[in-house]
Subunit: 321 residues, 2 copies
């Protein structure tokens, strides 16, 4: 055990990724008691579920937490919390739909909840992170894709089929020239995803003659992290790229605010590591753009979940939904 | 009593307008038992509250419903359901904030709920109207202004200060040349409000040479109703105006859908009387524009609350929130 003082009850958080499935036992304030992983690429989903159940059982035994686990939360792509199934996930090795909740509950007899990664992030922030005590906020997940978890009046919004909060695919004039992987133009995803930031980098480097350390990076090796590091070292083009990204996020947030009147907007995920450079232009653009009702009323924050464990903590919080 | 069969429990619905305050006793399926009104323009808010309380008491006595009233619902501009106050309403004759819930509860001893008109419309549709049995839908109110009542997972969204659902002030490229009364450009309000439709009429008449009966109407006398009537009579420009309005509503709805994943979008209010001409282009534009997850998944409907009593029925449903 990594912590001296533990706060019951406990949950198991499972982060189901394309390559590995990482899981941990977590206490009620977000302390991780033990962590383990299994490969996701097993021949059948039954193999995977058997192995995961067996290793979770072993973890509970080792920690002497038998009967003290309040629930299992699984964060997974395309997870529908209302049906308990994974639906049409393209990056998992098994055919969909996958009745994940049933599979785990029948093996372990422990209440199980699944949700997509962005929703897990929102519940994680509310349970252990930056949104503790907040009843109205939006988590924007910035990574390979852009997603959202929206909490309004203390409830995580799910919607008819669990597809509420798909804010990466809300379209904006500032992206009208960018084709999204969904086949449409203008999605926030095309600006604020990892690839979106690399796209902006290519564009800004092409239209400017200014010196930039980013010019030394081969196009295929560009990453948001390299842009961020250059910006922190004083590179002006790199700073412009993140300033533009932040401003777009601020304008988008001004529209989101009119839907759910949030008190905070939280950046989460790999690309959000640049939050210290994204949030100031984001806040400014929000306050320049938003309806008077929301102006200067929304706090912009970086996730407070430990980067390495954020996805697991989000999943572990799902039973508290 | 207007109905033979009544379904308890009963509520009182109050529609607080700038000129008159209309109120009615309503049963649980939306039958109006009795209706009455008082002028809103009384010298003080205390006079108004005394008079309203007295007349509601008299109505309850006459109907012999003493002890059978489950609550009073008041639909009012700028009503904040969480504080129970009217905040900064510019079209009421008294200074804000007005602690309306306290004022009625102290006078009548009956549980009282207030909300803005768009939210009352949403709860009204869910309780007695087009959204009966639905847990995920958006009511778009079309009238002097454009508002929204959003129900997600069975909850009416309120937000930090009750300002969720201000969809009339979400901005879109199709309105980027239109200045809104809020001081910004591009709000849906500038297209789909009564004045928005008149604006479109002026514009479409100016850029076309085609014959139209709308040309006989002096600019100041143009109304959405006249545009609708001309369109129904076969006037092509009038049809184009409503087609454009409907298409804009459809594109806007495609973005709203990504926030809350609704199963239905319902048009409500005076301008929604043109729903039979607005909904077909709205549905088409929605399905052309929306992310694949929402395409062909959303029903578009006209309010099922009787026009004359829609506001009162919305208010009467608020105690069921």
């Amino acid at each position: 055990m990594e912590q001296n003082t533990l706060y019951p009850p406990f949950t198991i958080g499972v982060d189901l990724g394309g390559t590995n499935t990482v899981f941990a036992a977590v206490d009620s304030v977000g302390h991780i008691l033990a962590k383990d992983s299994i490969p996701t690429k097993t021949p059948t989903i039954e193999n995977w579920a058997d192995l995961l159940a067996q290793r979770i059982s072993a973890m509970i035994d080792t920690l002497r937490l038998d009967g003290q686990i309040d629930g299992i939360g699984i964060g997974a792509p395309c997870a529908n919390s209302s049906t308990g199934c994974i639906e049409a996930a393209t990056n998992l090795p098994w055919p969909s739909p996958i009745p994940l909740v049933n599979m785990m509950e029948s093996r372990l007899g422990i209440h199980t909840v699944i949700s997509n990664d962005a929703n897990a992030a929102a519940i994680g922030e509310m349970t252990y992170g930056a949104a503790a005590g907040l009843r109205n906020f939006i988590v924007i997940t910035l990574g390979t894709s852009v997603g959202g978890g929206i909490v309004c009046d203390g409830h995580l919004l799910s919607g008819t089929r669990g597809f509420a909060g798909e804010i990466g695919h809300i379209t904006f004039p500032f992206a009208s020239d960018r084709l999204c992987s969904c086949g449409r133009h203008g999605c926030l995803h095309t600006i604020a995803s990892a690839e979106g930031i690399c796209h902006t980098a290519r564009k800004f480097l092409a239209i400017s003659d200014a010196q930039s350390t980013l010019r030394d990076i081969p196009e295929k090796e560009m990453t948001p992290r390299k842009v961020y590091e250059a910006a922190k070292s004083g590179d002006l083009i790199a700073q412009d790229i993140l300033d533009f990204t932040g401003r777009c996020l601020g304008k988008a947030s001004a529209e989101f605010a009119a839907m759910t009147d949030p008190e905070a907007i939280i950046l989460f995920g790999g690309v959000a590591k640049a939050a210290d450079l994204l949030i100031p232009p984001m806040r400014e653009a929000f306050n320049d753009t938003a309806l008077f009702l929301y102006k200067d009323r929304v706090r912009f924050m970086h996730s407070k979940l430990d980067d390495a464990d954020a996805a697991i903590l989000g999943a572990a919080s799902l039973p508290y939904m």
